[in-house]
């Protein structure tokens, strides 16, 4: 039985993001489980101090978790479905959201690299393969920089170095996992002769001269995710270390697929946070004896909405899994059919998730208003998803209403 039918067989047992749907997904969960107590134990202090959980990540690396989504041919575990990645992140997030967010950077990046390696043009395949191999062996930890630092107003650009390579300058913000990163994927604009300019992604080893990883992450939540800024000052990038993408400013509907795969696994993270909040709250009020009316009602309403969160996340993940390696058809339509369910689910999780966590604080009462209470951390962490691209709320409204009216608008 091939992988697809295994996925299919198992999806009935998991329309709520509870069980893996591939053996590789099961193996990943088994690898991760022993690490959860340590991750959970460090969560409060790392949140407090904004410290990245280096030891947890070293332990995950040793056990091969950081190569989980690398194809087996390249030394990885071969988890190749977003449902199972999201489920793994859900478990990690129940212990610590920040760790899950940083881990997501690595696991989701390998998924899109695998697509590049399997279907890209030759240069892309070679670069993706090289990177994946290094991730599969546990050597490479690969954070991604997407968003230019808004504060300095400088665009990140690649300019030709005159010798077939490039010079990278600029800076990126919110680069989760950066404290551990060995190689960084950095989105940039190629400023050569070509008009319009093209987008690209440079792969930059940490030791590159001119490259600095700052230690400046200080978020409301997700404080241990190491989501720092990174800056580049004329960093040399060899010609074969750059992924060439499409022209700037051209709406590439097909590219919605890659954007979806890069981000959809976060549905698992935020579902995990909500589940964690619910479990703490129900456990706490259960200890208090016969529940008053308001408590019974809130508990029932929390569980019903959590069911919706889990079902909705699972449905969006299943929609993407169905198309993940289906590249034979209309690629624009594939892009839409991946992004639309993701955006629907993201809106729903962003609406219901914080509502549920809020109600969990109400159930527990004043004790949960202490800075160190796990619910206080969850209240801050759960809020991060609304800020994660794609899309912002305004862009999601434009995109989704456009889709409803048959227009690509984003």
């Amino acid at each position: 039985m091939n992988a697809m039918s295994t996925i299919q067989r198992n999806h009935i047992s998991d329309s709520r993001l509870t069980e893996p749907v591939t053996p590789q997904g099961r193996a990943l969960l088994d690898l991760i489980s022993p690490h959860l107590p340590q991750i959970r134990a460090g969560a409060a202090d790392n949140d407090r101090n904004g410290t990245f959980p280096v030891e947890s990540f070293e332990a995950l690396r040793e056990d091969g978790v950081l190569g989980a989504t690398v194809p087996t041919e390249l030394g990885g575990l071969g988890v190749q479905c977003v449902h199972d990645v999201a489920l793994a992140l859900l478990h990690v997030a129940q212990a610590d959201g920040s760790t899950a967010l940083a881990l997501h950077m690595q696991l989701s990046r390998a998924l899109t690299l695998t697509y590049d390696w399997a279907y890209g043009p030759p240069a892309t395949r070679a670069l993706a393969g090289r990177l994946l191999k290094s991730m599969g062996s546990g050597e490479a930890v690969v954070p991604t920089g997407v968003k230019d630092i808004p504060r300095n107003g400088v665009r990140t650009v690649l300019t030709p170095d005159g010798a077939g390579g490039w010079l990278l300058s600029g800076g990126k913000t919110l680069v989760s996992l950066a404290p551990m990163g060995t190689d960084f994927v950095v989105f940039a604009v190629m400023e050569g002769d070509e008009k319009p300019a093209r987008q690209a992604a440079a792969v930059l080893p940490r030791e590159t001269p001119g490259f600095t990883v700052l230690d400046n992450w200080d978020g409301l939540g997700m404080r241990a995710s190491g989501s720092v800024d990174i800056v580049f000052d004329n960093c040399r990038v060899p010609g074969d270390s750059v992924f060439h993408r499409g022209p700037i400013g051209q709406q590439d509907v097909a590219a919605l697929a890659g954007m979806t795969v890069s981000s959809i696994n976060m549905l698992g993270i935020y579902t995990g946070l909500v589940q964690a909040a619910r479990d703490i709250a129900v456990e706490t009020v259960a200890r208090r004896g016969s529940p008053p009316a308001g408590v019974s009602t809130l508990v029932a309403e929390i569980d019903a909405r959590l069911f919706a969160v889990r079902s909705t996340a699972a449905a969006a993940l299943a929609a993407v899994d169905r198309l993940l390696f289906d590249v034979g058809g209309d690629m624009a339509e594939r892009g839409r059919r991946m992004m639309t369910p993701f955006q629907h689910a993201k809106l729903v999780v962003n609406r219901l998730g914080p509502e549920i966590v809020n109600d969990c604080l109400v159930l527990v009462g004043g004790a949960s208003y202490s800075a160190r209470h796990p619910l206080a951390r969850l209240y801050r962490d759960v809020r991060a998803f609304a800020f994660m691209h794609p899309f912002t709320y305004a862009n999601a409204v434009d995109y989704l209403s456009g889709q409803a009216f048959g227009r690509d608008l984003f």
Copy 2:
């Protein structure tokens, strides 16, 4: 490949209640599709006048739709999974909610009868088989009476007739499909020597002396569903036409399974109503040209919540399908694991469904406030689900908070 693995294979393609997961489900959809235009065409007038769509039902009967959930061995189409029944009802409900509600009575009853026929004690199997055979041939139309008429305050009881049979007296309310009914399943209390009294369900042919089907349904919505009262005045019921159930007042957790199967297909009906409202609204505003800000936002929010409704309904149906014919384990636990997801999904659909329909009226504006506008009908129809057992809101809160705290409370 057996039925179960077919279901499993197909579930990945349907975590949003869009495609059948069995060939029988596909066949049922194919049978139903040609009838939808007629059903849709009659909806406005039937709603207006509160008339039952007899012709539509005769046509469905002729095509074998009324026996769809009867096992093939007994002459039916053999649809044996709630996902596919709910999906068929979803399609009918997009044309007319009342017709879907009445059809649900027949299709869901045959599902629980099939369970009785497959796993019941000998007398139960014989009676269930007899009834199913008659449903499979298209002869029997079987409404169910559950709720005693509250207005006359009379309990429905079976008393021994002294000759091995019973006399049935009392009355039932909200018996959808009754105008077409040939044989009625009537829940009653057995008032014999046994203490505590037992519950039972009598099967009563329409022509039974003393049995009257009233024509008194006049609802806010679902006006064509024929949800009338039926009354019994010393109706003779042969001994072999009675299903014997458990003692009264004893909480039977295992019985939650049958209660769930009887009702969960309604998730399809109300999802269909919400989808129909959304389609009318989006079509209407699409014709008006460039949408204002409020319209774009509402459309995006409607589609996101509709995605949640569909995913949540599908997840609950999948949870039940997984356990439908799994009778080897702890039957109490099976009951809980069927009822809990159903109640979660019901709360979610009852929260989001009316919200969405409401927003659809806002999109369309004043035109939708005409009594005959389809959105005005949907606004009234969608409200019915909150009243459908199991459970009322208060009972759902007790049941679900009980489950969260590890107690069976309902």
Copy 3:
């Protein structure tokens, strides 16, 4: 103590729309109270049959209620604050929403006519005075036609009749109170030589040749409000029976004031409907003995939101009362400061009102799903407010976001 300080003195005792703030408002309530039982008694049948409550209105007319907002100088009761008009409508709406809606047409029209009479140019003052006098004596019942009939696509226009008068053609829809109307205020475009064309309002006696009041109102709710279409076929209108307004298409911010006064009293109507639903529901569940958890929680949440509805409506009404006869300042700013609180309150009442009524049906359960149950009527009636101008939801979003950003956009 003058009227204003009486209003001021009493507002502290009524930040929740519970007591009149002027002696005239108290007198109006006293006049109305004896009629409420009859209005309540007829509500169910009038809703059922879509019949206008002619007898109730004749009785109200005899007691001077229909002239309540006409200045005492012109024979009326002199109620001149929207708080007290809204409060009177609230009481009527608790008995029957349709009657309140039709009564609102008369009472609110006299308020804007009073403004015209007090501050308009001479011709306007004369016409307004004539009409008010006739309303004050109980003779004139004055429905207003604002919205052209969309179905026939014909604009309502006034064309010069060559003899100093006009010919009116076209048609208006949703003209509540029309079945009783003696004189109709009809908004129209003046198609003369002037460019751009100007807006006007013609006053049309019912017996005018070419004028037809249809009997075609058939709404989802507010079914006894007589909100029919009226059509004009070259009806002669004397030159002194036309109010001249500003040029078409020119955004007149000052005119927001009149639009607000015409409509804001409806806050009282919908607050009354919500209060009525709450009272029915609480009374019903109170009779059932010890409330289950879900019921207690819903009741508390209903009452809290109802408090918000009442407070919000009262605050918007107070804001308008403060400016009603304050015409010495910036009239554009006055327009904004009346419309903005009204639109805020309208959004809030349209969000919370239907939510509360919905929860009341949940409390009462299946009995409330009967077409004739008062909650079923309230469920339909409460929905009307969202369709009432000004504004639609989309226009409210444009207007209010514009105000937030310092722009007049509507």
Copy 4:
């Protein structure tokens, strides 16, 4: 014109908590305004470090703000209506929520002491007068300890010292303002001969031997409010420094009035936080040029709900002001008529407030997720109200549903 009619006259101009309704309230605002820039400037760092704004409080004390609610006869400013106190706190909260919360402790305590001084038995009047005089002169800063420290499980008790005085032992938690406190009002149980034991409130100078003010406040929000624990180890309390209250465990409905006055001013604080969040968000998106659809819609919805928050808070405050010095009637009914509107408004503010702040973060986007962004602080601060007594959510449900059903249940 006496104070009451001044209040009345002004209430019409303030059904939205925008203007003071007494000259004293105006004077208080004028005193406070010059301090707001300093309070605002320190907010970020004090939040960060959890430091109490001692300098701001010293400055407020010098200007007489800390005696604002002390009667003029006793040296204070004589602000005697909760509307004006809440409004002053609203202004402070727009600058810093923590400062407002600490200031509320002082201002609201003087209000209840004034009641004691005016209407209490002789010993109560004397003690209240002494304390008020000291507050009026700016000398005394009086935090209150209500809730026993749950962590050490010790009840706070007064035991007779055998010499007409008492010994106080135990501890209190969440004593906002304690870092500045000179005299503490400490609720305790009197463990003497009397059965049932009585409640009391001891007045404890800071320098009392055995009394310790901890420095252990570390909340999710309101971090600069100094809401520390205080502990007592056999502290001597003279007999005339104890307020005697009613017997323990006896439901004292009249006491609801004092509980309301102690807490209702917090409506101003949380309204201020919501207003501050709205202003930051609208200002931020206004700078970005033409708003996308989702932004316009959110802004309109934010402003509508903020209007509801302000109106609802103002209505509850007005209800209390009306009864504040009305002690001639049924004191139990007075208690209910103060507490019920407060609880209604508290539920509404707790539902809409966090929703609005949440939407403000959505408007601003990722920048607001920085720990030091003012919206990040508001997101945490606004959450505190749900934990403030009276009541918890569960107790509010019991109390309010009880009131709806005509029972005192809390």
